[in-house]
Symmetry: C2
């Protein structure tokens, strides 16, 4: 890190949407160093009263579905309407590949240079809890800096999309047309989480297949039980490449926002998420303290062996561990 900023400098920089300071503030929040965490807590404390005034949108879909192109086109569409957009791209693969952060940055080149947009890739290192924390707190910074539309992008594999779902207002799933194969990579349960489903790449020869896929997905949605917020998942087609259908998706998001604000589901969801993440953090800490104890680690290996050999029931195994 360059020469340290004071808490005052961080706060004023974020508040006035100084892009360089905003960027450094996010790095501060993502840092696992003790002195950075102390500073970042103070910063969040100061930003909290200015947070909350945005629509938080989660976007997911398997690699190849065109998420970056979609966000680039969609971002241009909404910033052209006067919105200020911040994008946080969570890339669980970037640690392994070592280079995809740079890839992410260049992939949304036009949007990156748009003064009304701010793109931030994150390497999502550390535990899921750590990523959850930095994601939620980065959203607070974005909102303090005046961004009214926040996109959290995640890859639709693994656990990250469930995490993202529980920190956004509206969850958008991108799909591709095809013979049902397009869903192969999506984890079970994701489709039922989606508030809006979009069949992307509906252009050229792909228009008809995309429309067919859309009809199929609509049929499937119809069989799903309704969501608690009263919203019925909308299914649309679009072409991010040719800028077709992006307005419809933005309208669907606004319509979702209006409908859930009318019946208080929007507010209730945010409050539930805040309480949920508090308890999740407590649970994670309690478990870490327990399992990271070296005595426990050694004991666990032996007890698991006995458990799998049918010498102990799950409850006896747990009791043995807890008696330590």
């Amino acid at each position: 890190m360059k020469n340290e900023l004071s808490i005052e400098e961080y706060y004023n920089g974020v508040k006035s949407n100084d892009r360089s300071i905003l960027s450094r503030a996010i790095t501060l929040i993502e840092s696992s160093k003790r002195e950075h965490q102390f500073l970042s807590e103070e910063l969040i404390q100061r930003c909290l009263p200015h947070s909350g005034n945005s629509i938080r949108i989660g976007i997911t879909g398997v690699p190849g579905v065109g998420k970056s192109t979609f966000i680039e086109s969609f971002g241009k569409h909404i910033t052209s309407q006067g919105h200020k957009l911040a994008v946080l791209a969570i890339d669980p693969s970037s640690q392994k590949s070592g280079g995809s952060i740079l890839g992410d940055k260049t992939r949304m080149e036009e949007l990156s240079s748009n003064p009304n947009a701010f793109i931030r890739p994150t390497a999502s290192s550390g535990s899921l809890g750590g990523v959850a924390r930095s994601t939620r707190e980065t959203i607070i910074l974005f909102e303090t800096a005046g961004y009214d539309t926040i996109i959290v992008e995640t890859v639709g594999v693994g656990q990250s999309e469930t995490t993202v779902h529980s920190m956004v207002d509206c969850f958008l799933l991108l799909l591709l047309a095809g013979a049902g194969d397009e869903l192969q990579g999506i984890k079970r349960g994701i489709m039922e989480m989606a508030d809006i489903i979009t069949i992307n790449k509906a252009d050229g020869e792909n228009i008809k297949p995309a429309q067919r896929a859309s009809a199929q997905v609509k049929n499937a949605i119809h069989l799903f039980p309704p969501a608690d917020n009263g919203w019925i998942t909308q299914v649309e087609t679009c072409s991010a490449l040719e800028n077709i259908g992006l307005d419809t998706i933005w309208e669907a998001i606004k319509s979702f926002e209006n409908s859930t604000k009318l019946n208080d589901a929007f507010k209730n969801n945010r409050q539930n998420q805040a309480v949920y993440w508090m308890h999740q953090t407590i649970k994670e800490q309690l478990e870490n303290r327990f399992y990271q104890n070296p005595i426990m680690k050694e004991k666990l290996a032996n007890i698991e062996k006995a458990l799998l050999n049918n010498q102990l029931s799950s409850y006896q195994a747990a009791k043995n561990m807890l008696n330590e």
Copy 2:
């Protein structure tokens, strides 16, 4: 409880399938009294080596779908083929209604008097963890007593079906034909958990609607991502009332068992479940110790207020709690 049995009497009674002692052993396991828990742990320890040799089937569906009638007819079908069937019916509503345990018992009157069947309703009192423990240990008793087919019945509302799903080999969802409304009561995500879906009451004028519903559900299933065990959810129609289609369902279950035993998914699933329930029990205990502390209870109320007023972030709230 009547005069206490010795551990030896319990064990021999269960082992020889003495129905009265088996019944008392389950009551012992369900008891929250300390001295009963001590005895029940010893009993489970002795029974464990004899457990495991059964197919464990979870059956769920909303009230009115005909679960009891289905189990009655289905139970007669499989016991007539020489199988020994034990049914554990978890009824989360019975505590409130106060009387439905008796209702359960009389609902399966014929099966109850069948010497090759054993029906056990449970009031599912106590925490979800408590029910999970007694359910899993009752399965161990059933298997020790020689039952080769075990059905765990649950109502398809609330959390109980997720719990049951994680302690059975094969999960069967009962649905009714109708204009899509039949799914209204089912929690989101249940359909994706099912290994076999059966449209019940496919009789009389209802045959055509049931076949249409079956086709619709098949279409929806096709859009779901495949399960890890390689099994594609089967959709069937049946009439428990007129004994139609029960053989097909039993064949589907056997086919599921064969297929998952061939690719080791059956064994892996059981081992994962054993480890899962050990960790679940540890987590539940850690959380109970933390949250049931009176100081924590008081503190939590205040911190939640600050959290919902945006005075604290979820992480600061958690940290405050943990610092206590």
